[in-house]
Each structure stands twice: as C-alpha cells, then as structure tokens.
Symmetry: C2
Subunit: 525 residues, 2 copies
C-alpha cells in the first residue's frame, strides 16, 4: 500500500492544506517521505459531521455485524505484511521484533473486542418484570447500555500500533458502537495512514456509513482541541503526557455539554522490594529490574521509575548489582527527537536535587536520539521532602529509595500520587509486611503485582490499565482489557415499552442470547 500523506475523512482521502509535516527517522534525525498535510478546520468539521451522521446506524448494527467488522480490521492489519512493520520501525526507532509483537497484540485486541461484543455482557441487559398487582403497581422496566456517541481518539507515540489508529481506544469505542475520529500521532504518520486505510476499507466492505471512521492529521493544540470541542464528539480517549491530557480535560469541561475524557497520563510505577525477597533473590531482582527499566528505551507507561527498599546490606547489594547490570545496557533510540530532549532534560535535572546521587548508568548514547539509562538513589526522607521526585521522567531513568525502616516505607507509599501500577517483591516471610502495604497500594494504583515487573500489560478480562489521578483522568475505568468498552457506554431504562418497539437485547425471547439480570438474578440465555 502506497503512503500518500493524505487524511481519511469518511470514504475520502484528502490532503490537508493547513500545513505540512514529514515523519522523522529518530535513529538518524532524517526526514522521511512523503509530506503529510494538516487538517483545516473545515476538514475537522467534516469528519465530525460524518461521525454524527453515522452514529445511529452504526450503534444499531447487530452484535455479529460489529464483531465481524472488528475482525476484518484485524485481518487487514495482518495483510499489510512487512510494509507496516518496516514503516513503523523507520518512524519510531523501535526494533522489528518489538513491532511484530505489538502488531500481534493489536490484532488480538481487536479480536478480543469482537468476542466481547458477541458475548453482549457489556449491554448490562436487565429486566424487572411488571408487578401489576402491587400497590402502587410497578411498570415493566428494562435497561441496556448504549453507545455514548462519536469518540475522538488520540494516537499514542509509544505504541504506534497497539495504542494508535486501530489501538485499544479505537477498538473499544468501535466495539461499543461509537464512530471514531482519530487524530494521528505526528511521530508515526505513515504507519497511521497504512492502518487507517485498513479501517476505511473495512467500513466500506461491511457497508457501514462512511463516518464510522475518519483520521485527521494536525497539531494537538489546533486539530486536537477543535476535535474535542466539537459538539458531535461525546468522549475522548488519550494516552500521552500529563500536560497534553490535562489540556484536553480542560477543553472538554469548558464545552456547553461537558464530555468525559479518558486520559492516561503519567505514572512512576513504584516497585517495593521487601527484605526477605532482597536477601534471597537480590541479584536476580537487580537484573530483572534493569531489564524492565531499559526495555524499549524505558518508553512504557508502566516503566518502573521508583524502587523502594529498607536500607540494609541486601538493598545495598541490590543497588550495586543493578548498577552493574546497567553498565552493559546500550543506549536505545527513543521515539522522537522531542521525547529524547525531554528525557535528557528531565534526567539531568535530577543532578540538582539535594540528597539524590547517581548510583549507575548505562552506556553512552551513540546516535542522535539514543537515551543513556540511569539509576539514582536517595533516602526515604529526601523522597518525602521532594515532591519533584514524583514527576515522571519518560525513559530509562529510575530512582531507588532507601528507607530507614518499614514505617518509612509505608510513609513513602502513602505519599505517592496515583499510579498505573504498584509492585511488591516478597517471599512468604515478607507477607506480614506485604499485608500492611497492600491496602495503601490499593488506594494508589490500578494494578498491583507481586514478584514481577510492571512492563508488559496483558490484554485480558481482568486487566486494569488505569488508576487514580494523575495516572489517569478517570480512575473508574481501564484503557486496556475487555472492560475498556464500558468507557463509551451509558445506561438507558425502557419503561413500559411495547414489545414491538423494544431493543433486541431486551426482547422477551432474547434473540441475541445474552446473559441478563432478570428480577435481580443473573440469568444466562
């Protein structure tokens, strides 16, 4: 498939005339052909207008139609073959193996949502039978969830496939019955066009209204803001920086009709190393920690940016071993020159913080956007007194906190802002302490894991990729996993509706064979 630099607005491909941009190869800082055009406000308007027009038809497709549409997108992405991986590798500096893995995840994610749609549990179909003989009589009441409306999705820089044009937000919004308008991320525009055209073709192949999908190109501060301000848009999915996320939250709250924004923003993902785990597995933990820290140049939302232990022989040994493991780590190319600059700035700012010292570093950078990994160390009291240490440094930088005792460990845990993840390494000898730590971590994080590392987010039913502010703008949801569909739904009650007019999921004979809550009891089909 040829990359043209065009946007996709409904069934059309349009070259935007509001400005120009080329993708950059971050390993060389060289521009890559072709030129992409930025959307004018008319084009944003067109995409939103088409989404609005498509909404009623699309939300009323059958479960089977919608599931097949999602599966067709998955198949289309695979059909792109090596061309997609090559373009993505060139635009992002990510290794081919990683991108192939990410493509697998993207495809599986679309297929999972196809299953979720077919299953129909998300409809929350509920029936309370009429009680005509009760005084006062009770009418027939039925509830189902319906789609919120067209959704604006912002592609993430760090997952050019799995959290971009056909990524988790798009898949879950389409699954819910919402048309999607994507703002492609400028860091991987060619990848975006290739994937966008797959969705555009699936829309046509399945005879869906063209407005089910559009993809715009432009600056977040212009096209992004206009998109979130548009009355047709009823929810927003975003993964990126805290600044970017909060700007969208602000815009959405200022609208005449405020709308929900699901922004996944920043997290430093604390890892607690309890004493017996450190004593018995310290060396292995040090190696695994450094592997997790430097994976993908540290460009994961769940990168372990904080390691907390009690000051002891074992924790000193861990620190030493981690520093040693770090020495061997090559500097990997980051996604964009901008991300690299922010990393250099953020990690070098640590040198100015009193009480913090460098514990070790990776190999020096050998190419323009390569990031030298680093591990710093400070005391519990320094951390507690330095709020700046809670700011995410996106990239392979982490801080070890050595506390004077377990009470201080609990204080550090309690002082943390909201996180996507919190990790505990513990043997059974550590369980008494773990038991004290767990309730604190439950209040801080969306996912708590034991004896592992937070990088690696499984796409499953029980996954939560979310967490209290500022990890996300809405702790009540997840952006990864089957329940991500719930973000784009709202409940509607149908009272006394004639049988002939009832939505399919609520009809007496249950044509879609979905599990329903009937008179307070979950009732399989």
């Amino acid at each position: 498939m040829h990359i043209t630099g065009q946007m996709l607005i409904g069934k059309k491909a349009v070259f935007g005339l509001a400005g120009n941009i080329k993708a950059t190869d971050p390993s060389t800082n060289q521009e890559i052909e072709p030129v992409f055009g930025y959307a004018t406000s008319t084009e944003v308007e067109q995409a939103c207008g088409l989404a609005e027009q498509a909404f009623d038809t699309y939300r009323n497709t059958t479960l089977e139609q919608r599931a097949r549409f999602l599966e067709a997108i998955a198949a289309g992405i695979l059909d792109l073959g090596p061309a997609l991986i090559e373009r993505a590798a060139q635009e992002t500096g990510l290794p081919v193996a990683r991108l192939e893995g990410e493509r697998g995840r993207t495809v599986n994610q679309l297929r999972l949502f196809a299953k979720v749609v077919r299953d129909g549990h998300w409809l929350a179909a509920t029936i309370d039978a009429a009680l005509p003989d009760r005084a006062p009589s009770r009418p027939d009441l039925r509830l189902q969830k319906i789609a919120l409306g067209p959704v604006a999705v912002f592609g993430a820089s760090n997952f050019p496939l799995a959290f971009s044009v056909a990524g988790g937000d798009t898949a879950s919004a389409l699954a819910a019955g919402c048309p999607v308008v994507v703002k492609a991320h400028n860091a991987h525009l060619g990848t975006s066009e290739l994937v966008g055209r797959v969705i555009q073709r699936a829309v046509a192949d399945y005879n869906l209204p063209e407005g089910v999908f559009s993809m715009l190109i432009g600056a977040g501060s212009q096209v992004g803001q206009q998109l979130v301000s548009h009355p047709a848009i009823k929810a927003v999915g975003f993964t990126g920086s805290r600044t970017g996320g909060l700007a969208l939250v602000h815009t959405a709250s200022q609208r005449k009709e405020p709308i929900p924004v699901y922004a996944e923003m920043s997290s430093i993902n604390p890892v607690f190393l309890l004493e017996h785990a450190l004593v018995t597995q310290g060396e292995q933990l040090a190696r695994n920690f450094i592997d997790s820290l430097t994976l993908g140049a540290g460009q994961f939302c769940t990168n372990p940016g904080l390691v907390i232990a009690i000051e002891s022989e074992a924790s000193q040994a861990f620190l030493h071993q981690a520093a040693q493991a770090l020495e061997d780590k090559h500097a990997s190319t980051m996604l964009t020159p901008g991300i690299h600059q922010a990393y250099v700035k953020g990690s070098s700012r640590l040198a100015d913080i009193a009480g913090l010292r460098l514990a070790g570093k990776g190999q020096a950078a050998g190419s323009p956007c390569a990031a030298q990994a680093m591990l710093s160390v400070c005391s519990g009291s320094t951390f507690l007194n330095t709020p700046a240490l809670q700011e995410e440094i996106f990239g392979p930088s982490s801080i070890a906190i050595l506390c004077k005792d377990f009470t201080e460990v609990l204080q550090v845990a309690a002082s943390l802002e909201g996180q996507l993840t919190a990790t505990v390494h513990a043997t059974s000898e550590d369980h008494a302490q773990a038991r004290k730590l767990l309730p604190v971590l439950e209040r801080k994080a969306g996912r708590i894991l034991f004896n592992g590392f937070p990088t690696g987010v499984e796409v499953a039913h029980a996954m939560v990729h979310g967490g209290p502010f500022p990890a996300t703008s809405d702790s009540r949801t997840t952006s990864v996993g089957a329940t991500a569909i719930e973000r784009f739904l709202r409940p509607v009650c149908y009272q006394g509706i004639p049988a002939a007019l009832l939505p399919t999921a609520l009809q007496d004979d249950n044509p879609w064979q979905v599990t329903r809550m009937i008179d307070g009891k979950l009732t399989p089909a």
Copy 2:
C-alpha cells in the same frame, strides 16, 4: 428523639458556632425550633479527617457486615415512628401520606442495597488464570472493584427522606464501602438530625469506625464548597439546581486531584402525544397529565414540563381538557419560601415570551408558599427559536408545544437538551412514528417510558435516574436503582498475588460465593 440543633461528627454531637439557622414551616412562613448551628471550617476538617481514618476499615468489612449495617439504618428509621413524619411535614409542607410513602421508599432503598451488597455482583470479580506455558507466559490476573473513598452527599430539598441524609446517595455510597459526610439541606434540618442520629447509632452498634458517617450543617457556598475541596473526599453526590450542581462540578475539577461529581440537576421531561393515542385517549391523558404535573406541587425532578403533539383537533381537545382539569387543582405549598419565589419568578417570566400564551391555570394561592399551577402553549417553531423555553421551572408549570407536522415533532425532539426522562403516548397505530422518535429520545434521556407519566421513579435493578448533560453531570450512571452503587467504585487488578494475600472475593474457593467472570465466562458460585 429530641432535636437539638447539633451536627453529628463521628460519634460526637456538636453545635456549630459559625452561624445560626432555624427551619421554616413553608405553610405559614413561621420559624420552627430549635436553632441549628453552622459548621466552622475546623468541624468540616474533623468530619473529613474521621472519614479518611475510617475508610480502610470500613471498605474491608464483609458483605454481610455491611448489609446488616444498612438494614439497621432502615430499621432505625422506621423506629422513629410518627415523630419523623411530623417533623418532616412541618419543615417541608409535604402531606403526611406522601412522607409515609417516601419513608417506605427510603427504607426499601436501604434494604435493596443490603441485597445488592450481599449479592456481590458489584464487585465485578474477574479471574484470568495464569498461562505459564504460553509464550510469553501470562500471569494470574484477578480484578475486583473497590470503594473510591469518602463521599460527600448533599441532601436534596424535594426528597427529605429518600434523597437526603439516609437517601439514595448515602445508601449506595455506604453499600460501596465509602464513608459518607452529609451536608444536610437547610430546608429540613430537624428531619436530617433525626435520621442522622439513626445512622450514627448504627455505626456504633455495629462497631464501625466513627468516621463512617458525619452530618454537617451550613451554607452550600461555604461548608459545601469546603467539603468538596477536601483532599479526603473522593466523590460527590448531589441533587438540586443546575447552578448548585455546576458550582460543585467546577470546584471538584479545580482540585489538585479532581474527583467525580454526580450532580442530578435539571430536566423538563418531554411527553410526546402521538396522534392516535390523542384521538382515542385524549381526555384520560389530559387528566393524567395534569395529575402528574401537579403531584407534590410539581416538585419532582421528573415533572412533565413539556408536552409535544401535532396541531390537530385531537390536540386542541386535549389542551382544552387539560386546562379544565387544571382549574380544579388547589395551589399546594412548596418546600421553601425560596423555591416558591423562584417558581413565581420563573413562571411569570413566561408571560414575556413572544408566541407563548397561557392555556390554563390552577386555583390561586391561599397561603404564603402555595404555587398556582399553569399550562402554557406555543408552536413548534416558537419553541425551536426560543432556547429559554428549555429552562426548568421547578414547580407545577408545563408548556404544550403544538407542531405543524411530525417532522417538526422530530425537530423539537432533536433540539432538546439532555433529560432524565422522555415519554411517548402511542397506540399500535402510532408505532411507525414512535419508531422514528425512539432513537432520538435514546440520545436525549436516561429513561424512556411509554403510555405513562414520568413522575414516580421505581427503585429497581433496571431503573435509570440519570441522563445526558444538563440532566446530570455524568450520563454514565444513575442515582436511583441498584446500579447506583457503581458510581463509587473503581477497578483494581491483582497480578500474581500470593493466595494468602488475595482479597476475599478473588480467592480460589470463593468464600463470599459471588458470581465471577472466569476466563471470560460468567460463573455462578
């Protein structure tokens, strides 16, 4: 039980020293004893601090403990006997029979949430088994929902029992495991104290931490704002005016950690009368409509403030019959002098609107806060061109819109702001039109009802008392019915947690016997 004028802060009763207020009997505009004291900022701080301290213990009570606690509150309210009803009648001007019914609803609501808690479906317990042999291996993943944190609840003026101190927001928050700090509504402070003391005693009787419940007294602009700003508070439940609701939404969004606000604010609850229904049942519809409009002096969130029909002989007859039925309606006492003044102002403003005329009115007021009911009428085009006609007039005032054809009916429907309810009267001959109207109404309202009137909100599993902005500040939820508990929960994923440390609902042997989603399948205990 003696009414003292004190607030309830944890296990203490405290007379607030920041100001004084007495309740008013709206039927006479006379003050009622005793004097109530307003909270100082220290007292707000104390209530929030106690709630924070109580949170971990309370959220970790067993399902059975929490269910019994809710049932004890229900029993305690009944034990108050006639004293509660008498005080509420005096403070609100509502008839005794209505208040007895409301007490029944309040008690049933607490008992429903006790059932909901025991059932455990709200935990959304989910287990994805580890797949150690997959490459890469999948860890054991388990999800449950946990309580958000302490909740601020604002009592509503129009439901002194069912949406006040022990009302729907309090019941659902306590069910979710959240401590509650109530700001009592100044319109029924004695009623609030009586009910508040019941909850306070139940907290003590069940050996719960005292901070599980506090009740403060003060101005919304002071105590209310301070409460919503407090870092310990993690969500807000509110029923009241759009101005009041939006002020809380604004404050909550400006916090260092923004929190969700569930504000149920305003709705004019359109009722569509389709032609055949009008022709065959017009007279009965007219009587029922006027009964619904004037019920409780029109002081229901679901009061039918708009009636839409096609201009025809049948709709003219309906209008005439409605005007006649209205003539017989006594002016009923409204809840407070302030609400009555707002009604007089709002309904008299209608006289200035070009194209709108008075169609009929109820009997003139005979006491200070009594509201004269009124029905106005205008054309479809007047409505479409006059946004002010969408503003709620809280009380027994409604506007009939006579459209030139069904296309204009659809235009009126599409022009509506978000609503709590939308009603359609239709016979089977009207179904073709109803089918066109339904998708429009689905996008406008939280509850769609046929051949009934929207006043009367059943507390059931399938109820939705919510809807798109500005009906509420969050269309994804309901404030009435079993699923109201979901407002105060967020999901947490537990990855690879040792069996000994797993939350009860996620342990392999399922000690609470809750239905769980296991490997993508709903699995009863």
